[in-house]
Point group: C2
Chain length 459, copies 2
């Protein structure tokens, strides 16, 4: 019998459901006790669900004494807080010699702890959720395999998206909010998207981003489109892809979403940098009219179509109508709001998951490579459908890798110390193996090598 181990989970939000469920299910055989800390004791209690191996506690991350006590008392710490709050936890983990796991990107400050973490022999595993997380592991598994055979990578494209499951997909946008709506509304802002196609660096500004989508199929699920992420070039260093010809990462939507979303960008509705005059009493119609030229007579609808050159019978018009965005009677009711906040308000009327709706996670990687003078291509994909509104595909794909990694660190199966992300074989192999057992499984197929010349091959 293993001795009792205590796992402290800080943050009992929606994304922690599958993480906690997994650890509680393992708690007997692994002899675990799960301490669930949240600022709101009710959230922690909900997640603990009176399980004998769980203890909910009130934990305000800025209450130093409680925080330190909780960390000192644990054998390993999982932070499910927003990324900006990790540092308080991380510093205490070093002080008290505890390993730590997060699903967030490694910040500069976190990286700077590497030396101290190594000196104490601790494992600080980050970027071990879905994206970043499962993407790193599933991509590096194929990349290492290609390299081990002596192949040279020519192309790496990687796409991830959180969508509504086909059985719950009942609007013209083929989209509902399955995660933080705010991040969806402001997605793509903050700088040009950068990537490489056939050795050429390409840059797309935000206001063109949603018109430059890449399309692809996934067997059994149909066609999707992807919007370029900002950060594709960073993966050159992380995956050591320095001479690669094509490097592209994107966010997945259903075909047609992005062209319609571009209307909001063109109008200026996704701007989150200024507050609109009198936002509280503004109607939905006033809101859209604020971004259109003044005219004493012309309708808002006609002004919009003329301004953005949209045909009367374009499906774009139906998509806007479906959102009730021209309604002169619905009031915003939010004081001092930015355009992005008001747009989110409108979208939440229609895009909020209903009680029996399910979500869906889609991930696809394309690997092009040369092996013994021959050019080859592999596509690897996974689709995960949520169980319900608690055990969503998102919570599953974010939470399970975190849970599995934490347990493996605790059990000494993952031991290499330092601030890290899961791109080493000894980390991703055992985790992917266990993920497969939980149903998160990648399907690979060989296709002909296209490079980034899709049109040439078609025409």
């Amino acid at each position: 019998m293993k001795q009792k181990r205590k796992i402290l989970i800080i943050g009992a939000g929606r994304s922690a459901s599958c993480l906690i469920k997994y650890l509680l299910e393992k708690s007997k055989v692994e002899n675990l006790h799960i301490i669930i800390g949240d600022k709101l004791i009710e959230s922690a209690k909900n997640m603990a669900n009176n399980h004998q191996n769980a203890t909910p506690i009130t934990l305000d991350i800025f209450d130093e004494e409680t925080r330190r006590d909780a960390i000192k008392n644990a054998d390993i710490v999982i932070s499910m807080l927003p990324a900006r709050f990790h540092m308080e936890v991380a510093k205490d983990c070093i002080t008290y010699g505890k390993s730590m796991v997060t699903a967030s990107y490694v910040s500069k400050e976190m990286k700077d702890l590497d030396k101290a973490v190594k000196e104490k022999g601790l494992v600080f595993m980050n970027e071990i959720g879905l994206d970043p997380g499962i993407d790193h592991m599933s991509a590096m598994q194929v990349i290492d395999r290609i390299r081990d055979k002596g192949g040279k990578l020519l192309l790496f494209e990687s796409f991830t998206g959180g969508l509504v499951a086909p059985e719950s997909d009942d609007n013209l946008w083929n989209y509902k909010f399955t995660w933080n709506p705010r991040n969806v509304v402001i997605a793509g802002q903050g700088g040009a998207a950068k990537f490489i196609q056939e050795g050429k660096y390409k840059y797309i500004p935000y206001h063109k981003l949603f018109r430059r989508t890449e399309k692809f199929y996934i067997d059994g699920y149909g066609k999707f489109e992807a919007i370029a992420n900002r950060d594709s070039l960073g993966y050159m260093n992380e995956y050591k892809l320095h001479d690669i010809l094509t490097l592209y990462r994107g966010t997945i939507r259903r075909v047609g979403f992005s062209k319609a979303w571009n209307i909001f960008i063109q109008l200026g509705m996704t701007d989150d940098t200024y507050i609109m005059e009198n936002s509280e009493n503004m109607s939905y119609r006033d809101f859209i009219n604020s971004f259109l030229p003044y005219h004493p007579l012309d309708s808002v609808e006609l002004k919009l179509r003329s301004y953005l050159k949209i045909d009367q019978d374009d499906i774009l018009c139906e998509k806007l109508d479906e959102l009730d965005i021209f309604n002169p009677n619905k009031k915003m009711g939010i004081k001092n709001a930015t355009p992005a906040q008001l747009l989110q308000r409108i979208l939440m009327d229609k895009w909020t998951l209903q009680a029996d709706d399910k979500d869906m996670i889609v991930m696809l990687h394309k690997f092009g490579y040369e092996l013994k003078g021959e050019k080859k291509q592999i596509e690897s994909s996974t689709v995960v459908i949520g169980e319900d509104q608690i055990y969503t595909a998102m919570a599953k794909t974010v939470g399970l890798p975190v849970a599995i990694a934490s347990l493996k660190i605790l059990n000494g199966e993952i031991t290499k110390p330092g601030v890290q992300i899961p791109i080493a074989k000894e980390v991703y192999e055992p985790i992917l193996k266990e993920l497969t057992e939980t149903g998160i499984k990648f399907t690979e197929k060989r296709v002909i090598y296209e490079g980034y010349n899709p049109e040439l091959l078609k025409g």
Copy 2:
């Protein structure tokens, strides 16, 4: 005979030429001595031009001792430095009890000095160049006159631009750089433009800004267009226009410039927030291709026209060709450059003023008001043509108000203490009067009141 007064001018850049010329011309009758301080003694010497009443000195604003000595020794201080350097000067001026004049916007830090400035009985006059400067004075003169008669302002639109003079206008863009090219390239960035038209707040994002121009005529000079400034709403407070129906400020270009400039914005070429890969060895053609989709065969020209839906015979194509922007042989030659810096490089080949080119300043105000139940409108405009490359229209319109204000403060004609801008009658009246004598003169005409309903009246 007045006693000798010393005027310290800090910053002997291009914008100081007319300022210094004016003060030197007055130096005998007014008994002035002009101390011209610059980091580069050569610039100061050039401006002093061996005049008996001028002393050029080396003045590095961050050399505290020299700066303080120079300020202590002066009777009034003019700072022609970039706005961010004013504060060092301003604090010393308070310490040594000297009034100060700048052509820059009042910063938060400058405003905070108001109490200290008043306690010492000093005048800190800011925003007394062209725009801001002459715009404040010429607008407030008409606004006050309308109010004095009992009129109520309904509309205020104000436009200013630095252009090339008609006699030097020889490119398809009808534009050359008459001021800092960098500011032209990044103009309009940093947030949505906000204004009011017929009581409706309107917001234009950057990527639509250059497609929403307002047009107007100036007798003898033809048609112009204006791009909305970011900051129109700030003038509500400054000019006390709280109930106004239409409030709009814009930057003037010749008709057709903005639609062509929008190509650069759409492509992402005006972005100044990231560095492009291998910018030094990039050709002009590579640069434009970086913003276009990859294709193994299609030409850059065709990709551009297709991407932005430009007809083959559109004048936009001629405007681009004129810039030689598709040239595969011209290299950028700038390391680690942003798109905006590279675009500026291309434009400077063609848009730099030639030795005998002249510049032109255009300013137009529209005032709509109601007086005794009747709606009326006044248009007030000025056009100033430069003399040559030293005494440009820009240097004249920026420098003369600064010079005149400084002398009037020195002579006790402007006395109200505090950190201020020239919107008080006792300030703008004498300055505008003297500007008229130097040839900077506004022409007024009455037109029918349109409000912001231009199309209604035309159709």
